[in-house]
Every structure is written in structure tokens, then in C-alpha cells.
Symmetry: C2
Subunit: 365 residues, 2 copies
């Protein structure tokens, strides 16, 4: 499944991009006056292989949730059971991601890819492509645990290669299911207490920067915890010395289950030529893995926002992506991606709806 997905990822379609540039020039506005939105519309035409590309409606947020053995190293003051409690909050509709998803008309699917503790809800579903999958319906839970949390990466590999592959394939499967159900755009979400620690390790491993550049304060840890967190990331990298040319090996050594699943989710979107809107530092660390698996997958990625985590900026620079929004968010869950969604939708709707100079009877300069 992973190899077939990688093989299905291809480059942008140049004729469609040329057609989008030509259409932009005929619309009733000064050339270039929509700035980044014009470039984005051209790239999405290239991804779809036609102009105009489909409006990215029926947006679907997938929140991959997992726990982390490295939590034992005290890299965060939050107890590990908060991961499962927040999954309950997502399913009850009480988290920020739910508010933003309701506002944007996006569906929310929570995927338990490896929460350690018990989940406070009773009815997981495994059919994400039911007819009522989109819009204001309640969030759904998909139970797909690969293992009940990773191992402590400072002691041993976080996962086996087989577990990492299984998590990646969970993400690929979810992406495919959501696209089959009609999603025009996929949004990354994540939940996992301590998950900025493996994200920092992934970013350092894939980009080669030092742990100090890749590591941030996550939920807002104090100075001693922050210094300790950097040392934990450094120790894990020293122990495993992961090879950035071997993304499955990197994920297994220092990743998280949700990071691996998100890498697959991004690959799955790219393989289906559907845009994937990246949230914050967890998403972009996973996107580095996706890019290592299939460099052309970057063509499907849209950076939703610039997380306050410094590692996010390191990763975005390596991916060559400029985020749409920069508001100092550091919450995760998919919140930054959801705030950026109207920009993406608007960029494409312009190609569908705006009158041309000819059709509107507006003079040109």
C-alpha cells in the first residue's frame, strides 16, 4: 500500500497551470492584485490537472491521536491521560477545532492511532464515508491503534519499522476514505501529549539542524523544562542517528504514531491529487517524512499557518512552503489549517465565479 501510494504521486500539470494563469489575467481585477491567492489557484489547477480546479469544498479534518513513550522523560507538565480526555472533548464537540470546523463547515474525524489510556467514548465507527460524513454532523472516532503509545525514544526506537509502516498506512487509508466520501480538501489535525518532542526530533533528522533550532516550548513549558526537552531530543538523535534518506527508519526511531499516520495522510492526498492543508509543527514534521517518501507530494501541500514553534519554520523552509496565516497559534488539533481554509477556497472560487473584462463590460487599462 505504501509503495503503491508513493508510485501514484506525480508532478503538477503544466498545461493546467498555464490555463489558470491565462484565466487569472482575464478576470475583472488588476493583474496580480490577489497576490498569494493567484499563485495558489495556479498550483491547485496543476494539482487537479485542469482549470478551473474543483472548488475544495466538503473539507475534512482528520485528527490523528497518539501517545508518546518519551512523555516519561518529563518533557511536558501535562499528564498523559489528557490525550484521551481531549479525544473525548473532540467527540463531544467542545474543543477549539470543533468550533473552527463548525464555522468552516468541515467534518471532523478523530483517528485513535495509538492513545495509551482508555478513551472516554463508546461508539467508534470505521466507516468514514457515510452519506452524513460532512458538515455540521458530530465528529466521528475511528479506532485504528497500531500500539498503545510509542516507546521512549531516548531508550529504544519509538516503534518498529513494521509499526511505523502500519501507522503510515492508517493515514493513507483515512485519506483515501475521505476522498472517496467526496472531500475536496483534507486538513491535518493531531492530538498527543508530548508530541512536539518527536516532531522536533523528526525536523532535526530530516533537515539536519541542531536540536536547539528544531525544539520549541510546545504548550508553553518553562525554561528548565525547555532546556531539558532540547537535551532529550538531542539524546534521541544521538542514540539512533537516523538516516534522512530512510523516512520509515526515521519515523520508527524518533517519530510518533500520529506523525507517521499524518505522513501517510499527506501521501494519500497527494496520490489522489487532492490538496492537503497542513496545520502546525506536528503536521509539517510529518510532511517532511512524506516529502522524503515522495518528493512530488509537496505539490499537494498547502501550509495553513506558521506555528509559534520554531521547528515549524525550519520545516516549512525546507519544504519550500509559505504559510497563509501567521497569528502566533500553537494549539494544533487542526486549528491553524481550519483558519486558513477560507483563503484556499476563496482562491479557487475566484477562478469559477469572477467575471472577465469581456463578460462584465469593464474597460481595461
Amino acid at each position: 500500500m505504501l509503495e503503491n501510494t508513493i508510485a501514484a504521486v506525480g508532478p503538477l500539470d503544466e498545461p493546467a497551470m498555464t490555463a489558470a494563469r491565462q484565466l487569472q489575467a482575464r478576470l475583472t481585477k488588476p493583474a496580480g492584485s490577489l497576490g498569494v491567492l493567484e499563485e495558489l489557484s495556479v498550483r491547485l489547477a496543476g494539482l487537479a490537472g485542469g482549470c478551473p480546479p474543483p472548488v475544495p469544498d466538503r473539507a475534512a479534518v482528520a485528527i490523528f491521536a497518539g501517545d508518546h513513550g518519551v512523555h516519561a522523560q518529563r518533557v511536558t507538565p501535562w499528564p498523559q491521560e489528557v490525550t484521551g480526555q481531549m479525544v473525548g472533548n473532540f467527540l463531544a464537540g467542545g474543543a477549539v477545532v470543533n468550533t473552527f470546523a463548525r464555522q468552516a463547515g468541515a467534518s471532523v474525524t478523530v483517528i485513535d492511532v495509538g492513545v495509551a489510556g482508555p478513551l472516554p467514548v463508546a461508539d467508534p465507527v470505521d466507516d468514514v464515508d457515510a452519506p452524513d460524513s460532512f458538515g455540521p454532523a458530530m465528529p466521528r472516532l475511528v479506532s485504528a491503534p497500531v500500539r498503545r503509545g510509542t516507546r521512549d525514544m531516548t531508550v529504544t526506537a519509538a516503534m518498529t519499522r513494521q509499526e511505523a509502516r502500519a501507522a503510515v498506512e492508517v493515514g493513507i487509508g483515512i485519506a483515501g476514505d475521505l476522498v472517496d466520501a467526496g472531500a475536496g480538501i483534507l486538513l491535518t489535525g493531531d492530538m498527543g501529549i508530548a508530541n512536539t518532542t518527536p516532531a522536533a526530533a523528526l525536523i532535526a533528522a530530516f533537515t539536519g539542524v541542531d536540536a536547539v533550532e528544531a525544539t520549541g516550548r510546545g504548550t508553553g513549558v518553562d525554561d528548565p523544562t525547555y532546556q531539558h526537552k532540547i537535551e532529550v531530543v538531542r539524546a534521541a538523535l544521538r542514540r539512533h542517528d537516523p538516516d534522512p534518506e530512510d523516512p520509515l527508519g526515521v519515523l520508527a526511531a524518533v517519530g510518533g504514531l500520529e506523525h507517521a499516520a499524518l505522513a501517510g495522510f499527506v501521501l494519500g492526498a497527494a496520490a489522489r491529487r487532492v490538496p492537503v492543508l497542513l496545520d502546525g509543527v506536528i503536521a509539517v514534521s510529518a510532511a517532511l517524512a512524506a516529502a522524503a517518501f515522495a518528493p512530488d507530494s509537496v505539490a499537494a501541500m498547502v501550509a495553513g499557518h506558521r506555528s509559534a514553534e520554531p521547528g515549524a519554520t525550519v520545516a516549512l523552509r525546507r519544504l519550500g512552503l509559505t504559510p497563509l496565516i501567521d497569528l502566533g497559534l500553537r494549539l494544533g488539533e487542526g486549528t491553524g489549517a481550519l483558519l486558513a481554509l477560507p483563503v484556499v477556497t476563496g482562491a479557487v472560487r475566484v477562478l469559477h465565479e469572477v467575471a472577465t473584462f469581456d463578460s462584465a463590460g469593464v474597460a481595461e487599462k
Copy 2:
């Protein structure tokens, strides 16, 4: 009317802001993790005078349209009749602002405050608070011309003080009508070929920067036209030497009818304690006038985006506002404000909808 409106503008309510900060701290997310959105929610509570502040729904874009005598100085390659033609395009729903308004569920009201040529439409309305005023209904035209375009500010004052006052009061009236009709947030829009030239003159007059810092390329003029445009702005400022302590005098000397109306629109929103989401360089030049009339009016202003026009950044800095979005837009019409609207709405909805640690049974650190 102007004096009464100025008198009604007051400062933010501190107890409401304290209540909003305390509520933010109890919501199920790390403290501060929503970055700018948290600060914004606190300010909007202070504006409303209560916590949570009302959700800014029933958003209303007001596009003030006018023509400019300084067009005769060849500051733009676009013919003047495009102003009226674009009004027709707005009313037919074919412009970018219409696409973004439909997407955001915002109403669009076009106000002819001084278009020079004939308008290509037949049925202006003057009742903007009809029951169907919001949502996907077609845009409406309000006919309120103060004069059929300004005079050439390089030759004489653009308007008389009486005309400037009348235009300001058109804007105050529209803001009041839209709030009466239920608008929870007002968005600024503008249309007027050559209107970045008076905007630059206003920004230079109110902030004291040189014409070269306040003047941009507008729709994208070439180098010779750009140099000439700077000289035109400089010549107008030299001729009139407007006093920044006399905003009506500044507007009359070097403003535009839509700029004056937008200054009133901002004042009207502030007087009603309803947030006003500013679009680009035309809006922020008018906002400087509003701030000169009533310094506390800044409390009601939310900067939607950072226009590519350099003068916009000069004005935002003076106003002390940080824009929500920075995507290189330079279209006007209200497009940048509309793209930022979901950020504002989301910031407030968080206060209404997100569960607290207690209510959701989520542990704290």
C-alpha cells in the same frame, strides 16, 4: 451628526476585558495557544462591554465608490469610467468581493458617494435595513452622491469642507443603518479609479511621512507613472499644507469622497461599539482620519490585511494595528477584510463554544 458621533465614541471596557482573559484561561487549550485570536477576543469583549461579546455574524460589507479629479494628472492607466463599470460588476455579483462575500455569508452594499460617470444599473435602493439585507441576496446600491467626483487636488481642494462633511455623514449613516439592520460587524470596501493617490496624500498628511513612503503602485503602474504619482502627491501636499489636527480640512484638501465616507463609516461603527474590519490602503487612510476625529475609534478597528501598498503599513503602524492576514493583496473592494472575517468570527466563537477544563473533564498541567 458628525459631532454627536464623535462624542459617542468611547474607550474599551476594562472589566469586560478582564472577564475575557479569565475565560480564555479556563478553556480546554494551553494558555495563550490561540495567539493573536486571544488578544482579539479580549479587545472585542472590551468593545462590546461584556463577555463573551456577541458573535460578529450578519457581516456587512459597504463599498463606497467615488471618482477623483486627480485622475486628470494621469496617475493611473485605467480609464475613469471603470469606477462605474465596476459598480455594475458588483451589483451583478461578478467581482472578487462578491465571491468572497458569498463565501463568508456577508451582505454587500454599494454606496455611490460620488461616481463621475453614469452607473449602468437602474434600481438603487435607499433602505439598507430590509429584512433580506443579509446573506446570499444580491448586492444593493445606495445612491448618495455628494458630488460627481472630486476636484483635482493639484489645482484646488478636492472638496469643500461642507462636501467633506457630507461624505463623512453618508458613511456614518450607512454604518448606523447596517447596525440597525442587525450587522454584528462592518467591513470596509472601496472602488474608485485613482483612489490610491488621495490615500497616499492622506497618509502622508496624517503621519508626516514623505510622499515617497506613502505612495505605492496601486493597480501596478510602471516606473515613470509611479515617479509621477509621487510628485503629484507631493504637489498636492505642498499646495494645501493640510493640518493633521483638522481631519475635515485634510479630507477636503487631499481626500476622496469614498475616503471621507469610510472615515465616517469607521466612526459610526465605533460609536455603536460594533467592530469594523478594515480592508486595504484606502480603508487605513480613512481610518487615520477617523482616529484624528476620535482617537478612541481605534478600539473598534480590526486590521484585516496588510496591503501590498507601502502606505498601508505606514498607516497601520501609526494606528497601532497588526493585520490578521498578509498575502500580498492589492485589490481593494473589501476583499482583504472578507478573507480575515473568519479569523475574527472564530476568535469570538471560541469564547462562546469551547468547553472549560472543568466541564470537559480534562486534567490541567
